[in-house]
Symmetry: C2
Subunit: 215 residues, 2 copies
């Protein structure tokens, strides 16, 4: 049992209060979100959390570490950087992230012009919005704002990971905002999207993840 943390614990014998003692502080669940696609460096996390103060990011990482949800790992030379990653316990938060995502997905309109659109969340939302052929088995590559992702569709389930997949049927190179506009059926800037690979696979990708009038 992890002791409820200091001053601001809810101090109630309740499963939900206990999990909020771990996760309820501002930014904590967004950090978990970013780590769900794979290990991240401090500066990558900082870039993916628009507006967080640097000391708060440090504090949250320390707390998550103390609670056993996140682990610091020093990469061996020559990389010589430290990354943060979810532990086995941390990965059990998947259903929480998914449930929050499903609630929020319906509240997302078109991104406001001044609203940051980061690659990680966009890729993650794909796992929630799949509505293609239930028998489809295919892997897609995404390069968004220079970051590479693999999206694996396997009979109705969707996995996403950081890093270029080896077996992508098609790879889309663009920025996160343009991908959102594309999937919402809105006009996209000319030349903002490059498609490498099977054009039919590209069509299947758009059909499976487009957020247009399917209601």
């Amino acid at each position: 049992m992890i002791a409820p943390r200091g001053k601001r614990s809810y101090r109630e014998y309740c499963a939900i209060a206990r999990s909020l003692d771990l996760l309820g502080q501002r930014w904590t669940l967004l950090i978990v979100r970013d780590l769900f696609l794979g290990p991240q460096r401090y500066s990558d996390l900082l870039a993916g959390l628009p507006g967080i103060a640097t000391d708060l990011l440090t504090a949250r990482l320390r707390t998550l570490e103390a609670d056993g949800l996140v682990r610091r790992r020093e990469l061996p030379p020559p990389a010589h950087t430290t990354v943060y990653e979810l532990t086995e316990s941390g990965r059990r938060l998947g259903p929480v992230i998914r449930a929050l995502g499903e609630v929020g997905l319906e509240l997302l309109g078109t991104p406001a012009p001044d609203e940051p659109v980061n690659p990680g969340p966009v890729v993650m939302s794909l796992m929630l919005s799949f509505h293609g052929d239930p028998d489809l088995v295919e892997t897609y590559g995404l390069e968004l704002d220079g970051q590479e992702f693999g999206v694996v569709v396997d009979r109705g389930t969707v996995r996403s990971e950081r890093g270029a997949p080896s077996d992508a049927a098609v790879t889309l190179r663009t920025d996160a905002r343009t991908l959102v506009l594309l999937l919402r059926g809105e006009p996209i800037p000319e030349g903002a999207l490059k498609v490498d690979g099977d054009a039919a696979a590209f069509d299947r990708f758009v059909a499976a993840f487009a957020h247009d009038g399917r209601s």
Copy 2:
């Protein structure tokens, strides 16, 4: 689309960030938790949220109302009180509450002596900890600290509601803390538990919800 709220919105185009814009403030999800078992008066909510300031409860209820998750309803005479209840949108938060509960359930040890144990959360945790006969269909009545609940087991699923059920096989009258101790297999104060009804049904209840060495 609900516009991201003022100052402390995350202002990121992300499904999880959006849902946390609605739910991420302190106490908000615990209020939703308490409303999940049925409508509650202001003072009942206050009693179920140990430590919340009165103006914060009011502020959170207003925000939840503005976001369409909670509705105020004036009961007709002669009751003449106002209750808060979840709207249809609010009830869609079920998976969020459930996911958080499953995370927190494993962190709950035995309640500390100074830790409040409220009936609502205890009843709600029953929905997460059922491990009885998958074919069992039975209704149980609970009266905890004077509050009545019905727990309906129906082939592996468990529903709970406020109010005494009409068709309970057995009714347990006790306090929330004693019920927790009972289900954890710990000694309970003499005379703290009264069982009304079928003794075999009581045994099935304990077997189905006990949290003892089943790992």
